[in-house]
Amino acid sequence: MTITPVSRKPMSFVVPVVALSGAVAGLLVGTANGSAALGILIGAVVLAGLAVLFMTVLTDKRMGRWLTLAIFTLAGFFLGGLSGLVVGLLFGWFFGWLIYWLAEGRYRASLPPYTTPMQVLWHYTFRVICGAIFLFLITPILVVMPLSFNAQDFFTFTPEMLRLDPAGYSLKHYVDFFTNPDWQNAVWNSVTIAPVATLLSVGFGTLAAIGLSQPHVPFRQVIMAILISPMIVPLIISAAGMYFFYSRIGLQGTYLGVVLAHAALGIPFVIITVTATLVGFDRSLTRAAANMGANPVTTFFRVQMPLILPGVIAGGLFAFITSFDEVVVVLFVGSAGQKTLPWQMFTGLREQISPTILAVATILVVLSIMLLTTVELLRRRSERLRGLSPG
C-alpha cells in the first residue's frame, strides 16, 4: 500500500512535538490534581526526556514501548491507585506508540508523497480538532453513566468510586427508578402520550404537506408559515397561550390536552421533512395512476406514500422525540396527573439532586443507541435486499 518513502526524523522535530503532547496530557492530569502549570511542565519534561532516550539509546522499538507502558502504569498506580493505573496504562500505550510513530516518520505513510509539510500538519490538526469536538460533545453524556452507579445519593465521584472499589458502586438508583411509583407513572405517561401525539402529527402533517405542495392552493406561503410557527415562536409563549386557551375549553390538565399540544409541536417537523421529499416526487405518477383507474385514496397509499415514506418516518421520529423530551408545554398544559418523564426529571433535579435522574438518563441513552442502531441495520438490510449496496 505504502508508496510514500518513510525516513527517520531528526530529534529537533520529534522532541518538541512529543513534549507538546506531553504538556497537553500534563495539563489534564495537573488540573485534576490542583496545579495545571506544574502538570504542563512535568508532562513536557518527562516526554521530551523519553523521546531523547528512545532515539539515542533504546532504539529497540518493542523494548521501548513495553518500558513506557510499564513506567506510566506504575507511576499511575502509585499516584492514583487503581484508577491511576488505568489512566497510566492508556497514556503509556499512547506515548510509546507516538514517539516511534513520529521518530520513524511513519505519519507520512498514509499520505501521498507530494504533500507539503503544511499539508501534513493540517491533515493531522484537522483530525485532532474533529476528535476534540467529538470529545466535547460526548463527554457530558459519558460522565453521567458511571455516576448513575453511585452508592451515595449525590452527584459526586466518591473516593471509593475513584479507587474502583466495588463498595462505591450500587444499582440502588436503578432499583429506585423501577420501584418508585412516581417514576413509573411518569414513564407510563410519556409512553402513552408520545406515540399518540406522533400519530396525530404524522397524519395531519403529511396531509398538510401534500395539500400545500399543490400549486393551485391559495395563500400557500401564509398557511405554511402559520403551521410551522410552533417551531419558531419561543416555546414558553406557545405554552402560555395554550394554557389559557385550553383552560377555557376544558382541555387543560387532561390527557387529550397534552396529546393535542404535543401534536401541534410535532406537526411542523413532519411538514418540513415531507415537503422536502415531495420536491423530488414526480407528479406524472399520480396522473398515470388516475389514468389507469385508481381513485385518489388508492393512488395515495399505493403510489405516493411508498415514495415519500422516508420523509414521513423522519418527521415522525422528530415528532416523537419532541413529545418525549418536551418539558415546558407539559408543565403548562398538563396537571400532576400527566407528569411525563422530563417533568419528573425536572422536578427531581430541582428539589432533590438524586442520582436516580442519572440512572434514567443512562437508560434513555442506551435505549436511543439501540433504537438508532436498529433503524440503521434495517436500512442497510433493505438496501442490500434492493441491491443498492454491496455486502
Partner: protein, 368 residues
C-alpha cells in the same frame, strides 16, 4: 368534635366512618401540591397514605410549591384551579390570602381540636399567622459544616460564617436577602432586637451588604434546598445554609461528615392552604383532608420521618423515634431546647413591607 375523637380511637371505626363520609358529596380524587424530596415523602407516609387507605381517595402529588403563588394566580385567571391542597411557606400563605386566592379557614370549626379538647386556634396559638394558613411544621434555616474541614475548633457562632481567616473555604448562602441580611447585621454588632429597626433604614441595608461584601468572593449562592447538601457532600464548601431537615437527612441518613451549627437559626413556618374557586365537592374533600392531616397525632407522625417540629403544642410530647433508624428525633428538632438557645424569628410583616425594595438592592449588589 365527638366524631373525630372516635375516629382515632379505634381503627375499625375509622375505616367505616371514613367510607361513610367520603360518599357522594366529596371528590374521589385530589391533587396535593408540596415541595418534593424528603419532605414530600414524610407527608406521603404520615398523611396521604393513611388518608387514602381510610377513604379510598386517589391522591396525585405535584411538586410545585416553589412557584405556588405564580401558578395559583394563573389558574385563577384562567378559571381552572386544578390543585386541591397546597403546601406553602407562611409568607406565601399571607400573600395568597391577601389576594383572595386562598380560602379562609375557621380553625375552631374546621380543624380538629387537641385530644384534651383544647380548640385548634389555641393549640396552634401564634403560629397561625394568617386566616387562610393551617400551620403544619416549624422549620429553621441554619448552617451545616464539614467536620473534616474546620480543624479542631468547629464553628459555634453564626459569626464564624463571616470569619474567612479562621474557616477558609467557600460557603453556600441562599440567593435572596432574607436571612442573609439579618445574619450580616447580627455579626456586624447589631443587637438581636434591633436588627429589623436597622434593616428598615437605607443605611442599615447598606451596612448589611457591606458585611456580606467581606465574604462575597467566598460565597456560592444556592436557590434550591438540595444544593447545599450536594455541595457539602462534594466537599466544595466548608459550610452552608439550608433547611434543617435537609441537613438531618445528610448527617443521619446519608452519614456524611457534616454537623449542625444551630446558632441564630431562623424559624419559619410551613403549612397548608386551600385555593379558592374549587367546586363544592372538591372543597369538601380538601377540608376533610386538611382536618385529618393537621390533627395532633398526624402532625406528630410526620416528625418520625423528618426533623421538623410539629406546629401544634399538643403534638410535641408525642414526637418519638425515627421510623426506620429508630433514633430519638427530639435532639434533631429545631425547637429542642439545646438547639434553640439562640434563635431568630422571621419577621413576616417586615419582609412583606420591605421585600421588593431590599430584593432589588440585593440583586444589584450581587451583580456588582
Amino acid at each position: 368534635m365527638k366524631l373525630t375523637t372516635t375516629l382515632f380511637a379505634t381503627a375499625a371505626l375509622a375505616v367505616s366512618t371514613g367510607a361513610a363520609i367520603s360518599e357522594s358529596h366529596m371528590a374521589k380524587e385530589m391533587t396535593i401540591v408540596s415541595w418534593g424530596g424528603a419532605y414530600s415523602n414524610s407527608q406521603q407516609k404520615a398523611y396521604s397514605d393513611p388518608y387514602s387507605a381510610m377513604t379510598g381517595v386517589k391522591i396525585i402529588n405535584d411538586e410545585s410549591s416553589a412557584e405556588a403563588v405564580a401558578k395559583l394566580r394563573a389558574m385563577n385567571e384562567a378559571g381552572n384551579v386544578t390543585w386541591d391542597v397546597v403546601d406553602v411557606v407562611a409568607s406565601d400563605a399571607i400573600r395568597l390570602c391577601d389576594e383572595g386566592l386562598a380560602m379562609e379557614i375557621n380553625a375552631d370549626k374546621q380543624l380538629a381540636p387537641a385530644p384534651d379538647g383544647t380548640p385548634a386556634s389555641e393549640d396552634f396559638g401564634s403560629l397561625r399567622v394568617s386566616d387562610c394558613f393551617i400551620p403544619q411544621i416549624v422549620y429553621s434555616t441554619t448552617f451545616g459544616y464539614r467536620t473534616d474541614m474546620v480543624g479542631d475548633t468547629p464553628p459555634t457562632k453564626i459569626c464564624d460564617v463571616f470569619d474567612t481567616k479562621k474557616y477558609p473555604g467557600k460557603r453556600a448562602l441562599e440567593k435572596r436577602p432574607i436571612n442573609n441580611m439579618e445574619w450580616a447585621l447580627l455579626c456586624d454588632g447589631v443587637p438581636k432586637d434591633k436588627v429589623y429597626d436597622v434593616l428598615a433604614t437605607p443605611e442599615g441595608q447598606e451596612r448589611a451588604l457591606a458585611k456580606l461584601d467581606t465574604i462575597k468572593k467566598d460565597v456560592i449562592w444556592w436557590s434550591a434546598g438540595a444544593d447545599t447538601p450536594q455541595l457539602l457532600a462534594d466537599g466544595e464548601i466548608v459550610m452552608g445554609s439550608t433547611y434543617n431537615g435537609r441537613l438531618f437527612s445528610l448527617i443521619v441518613e446519608q452519614k456524611q461528615p457534616v454537623a449542625m451549627l444551630w446558632d441564630a437559626q431562623v424559624f419559619d413556618l410551613d403549612g397548608w392552604i386551600i385555593p379558592t374557586g374549587l367546586s363544592p365537592e372538591r372543597q369538601a374533600r380538601a377540608l376533610d383532608f386538611v382536618r385529618f392531616a393537621t390533627d395532633t397525632q398526624r402532625l406528630a407522625d410526620q416528625a418520625k420521618y423528618i426533623s421538623y417540629g410539629p406546629a401544634r403544642k399538643s403534638s410535641a410530647p408525642l414526637v418519638g423515634k425515627h421510623a426506620t433508624l429508630g433514633i430519638d428525633m427530639a435532639p434533631y428538632m429545631p425547637t429542642d431546647p439545646k438547639n434553640a438557645k439562640n434563635t431568630f424569628l422571621y419577621n413576616y410583616e417586615f419582609w412583606a413591607d420591605y421585600r421588593d425594595d431590599i430584593d432589588a438592592k440585593f440583586q444589584a449588589w450581587l451583580a456588582k
